[in-house]
Symmetry: C2
Subunit: 246 residues, 2 copies
Amino acid sequence: MSNSVTLYDLQLASGCTISPFVWATKYALKHKGFDIDIIPGGFTGIVERTNGFSDRVPVIVDDGHWVKDSWAIAEYLDGKYPDRPMLFEGDSMKVLTRFIDSWLWATAIRPWFTCYILDYHNLSHAHDQPYVRESRERLFLGGRRLEDVVADRDERLPLVPPQLQLFRDLLKDTPWLGGDHPNYADYRALAVFLWVGSVATTPPLPDDDPLKDWLDRCFDLYGGLGRHPGMHTLFGLQEVAEKAAA
Amino acid sequence: MSNSVTLYDLQLASGCTISPFVWATKYALKHKGFDIDIIPGGFTGIVERTNGFSDRVPVIVDDGHWVKDSWAIAEYLDGKYPDRPMLFEGDSMKVLTRFIDSWLWATAIRPWFTCYILDYHNLSHAHDQPYVRESRERLFLGGRRLEDVVADRDERLPLVPPQLQLFRDLLKDTPWLGGDHPNYADYRALAVFLWVGSVATTPPLPDDDPLKDWLDRCFDLYGGLGRHPGMHTLFGLQEVAEKAAA
């Protein structure tokens, strides 16, 4: 039996993963000790790539079993491989992970989306860009043009980091959301920051953000899994703001 | 060996517990299958009541062992009685419970405190009221009088329930924060609502709040532990607002 699992990725033109769901799945597979066979690809053609199995990624193929949806994949991995390090501690940790995940989406992804959606578009594969523009403008932006949505982002970006204080406070008292070691709660939260790093042509967090300690330790896991060359730095928001004011 | 644990309470004049930390401890003791010997008392005289052991409650005495601090008490109970139902599932659930707890403090207790602090004072034992007024005005209200702080609460109370939507959404997909059964994550979150119920002379939540399902099931646990006769209803905010507008 192979120790590799096939993963259908969602990538930008740089090859860097953009989807937070794929990022969480990459860390989950590494946590379980698997090598990953990446099937590259962008926003379009997913149904064709997966032979009709899914119109969304992540999708994995493990020893012939096809599984979709990041949360279902994590549960599948723990269920099938309980002898390997567990992603979930139990049902309560699952419930509470969904809470911190939904809080991070509301607090960070929602405002960052409207700051970085033009980068998100421009960094996509050229053949994905018409789909990205049309679908995002229609589904998430009320028909507004990407260029208009991001126009005032320099004023809005500094409003986000203070909203993350509860998360910063939590990480003062523990090295990982998993306790003494990272688990799926860490990967799920981390995926929010990997998503923004994949598209942030200007940094979302200040250089002295205390989140840097946890983020750097997360990026370093599994041979520096989070340090793809297409990733942008998360830190330096203050310096950019100061430079703009100078 | 007795199956009872002694608990030093923090009560209003009605005998209803006010402290969210004591509430969480009451549920924790019942979860572990213990009977509770309550030592009644209010905000003042705690050092004397506990023979110098602590200036804060909860304090428990279990088979001659004195333990203080609600979190430490919960950990003590799981550590000493692992054969009884566990309060904690593991380290990650502890970390994530601290997160949802701190979110509820920021989102609910902080605004409700400045809506209900005069009730909180008026419902206290008469001999506690000078201490409650002086300490709360000085420590938490920047020297403002309780009466001035609550003056505009009718405008502020309706702002709180919408902020709880992430918590409502979470409880759509699970009966308990513990998963299939309640655990310390439920008790910790519940304690926020028991605290407000102990002081809320006007309801904090709308009558049709979907949180009512989980709250009612929590109140019913352990023979209706949360249904003390000194407790106020949490539901009816909309009706009060409509009556005021009529």
